[in-house]
Amino acid sequence: MGTYNSEVIVGLKEGVLDPEAETIKRSLERLGYDLKFIKSKKLFEIKLDAESEEDAKEKVNEMTKRLLANPTIHEYKVDIV
């Protein structure tokens, strides 16, 4: 049993409307910046005990599928850091 740190990044799938990013883009443009593209993502840092790195990744993957992300609109990436 060891303690592992993981990072989960959840973002919208390509093609899914991102009103938050659009709003931020407009505000940045108001500040005078010229943007080609912006996308917002959520980062979760999770510390947990697990049998192995593999086990930790499996557990975090499961948490992400069950709650942190919604497969209808999200894609995600899980890393043990």
């Binding site: 899914v16 409307l17 009103p19 938050e20 709003t23 709650l67 942190l68 919604n70 209808t72 609109i73």
Partner: protein, 225 residues
Amino acid sequence: MTIAVIKFGGSNCEKDTVRALSYLGIESKIVWYKEEIPEDTDGIIIPGGFSYGDYLRAGSMAAITPIMDSIKCFSEDGMPIIGICNGAQISCESGLTPGLFTTNKSCRFICKNVYIRVENADTIWTERYEEREVIQIPIAHGEGRFEIRDEEMKIMEKNNKILFRYCDENGRITDESNPNGSKNNIAGILGDKNTVAVMMPHPERATLPELHLMDGSKILQGFLR
């Protein structure tokens, strides 16, 4: 006839819902989400509000509470169940109904009366309306934009699972009459069984005469068997 109105931490439409039901002569009881659903329950409403402060995604946290598993079991038995506003978000997040409701296209919280069109009048929720009837009803949400995978959308349309669409006062389905950017102007849908419905507009706020808008009352009358 007793309807269970499920209350989560952050629900705030449960009393309005009970009052609207009472006006229609339907008995109801507020059930805290940690309690068992009473045995004499004939129908369930998941009311509006901001369960768990809308953290993560609206409805996502309430969706994984054990009471939702009970509600899914009741839904399979054909019990009438309707999720309204936050209740709709919770139902979709829990998988009771497909798709999900996410951030409005404008990113703004929208609170106003809108028009919706009855797309399927062959359900307990809409049998008192005419097919394609236009009704006026309030919405109040920040995350009401319906999203679903294209292939699932096709199946829903094919199986007549669209209950209401946002429209203009003449019943035309236009971008301008779509308040939140919902896919295909969807305002309400049906579950696997047509006795399960979810909708972002608030029928309980369009039921009492003192609110001067009663177009939603026939939806809640769906509980009257």
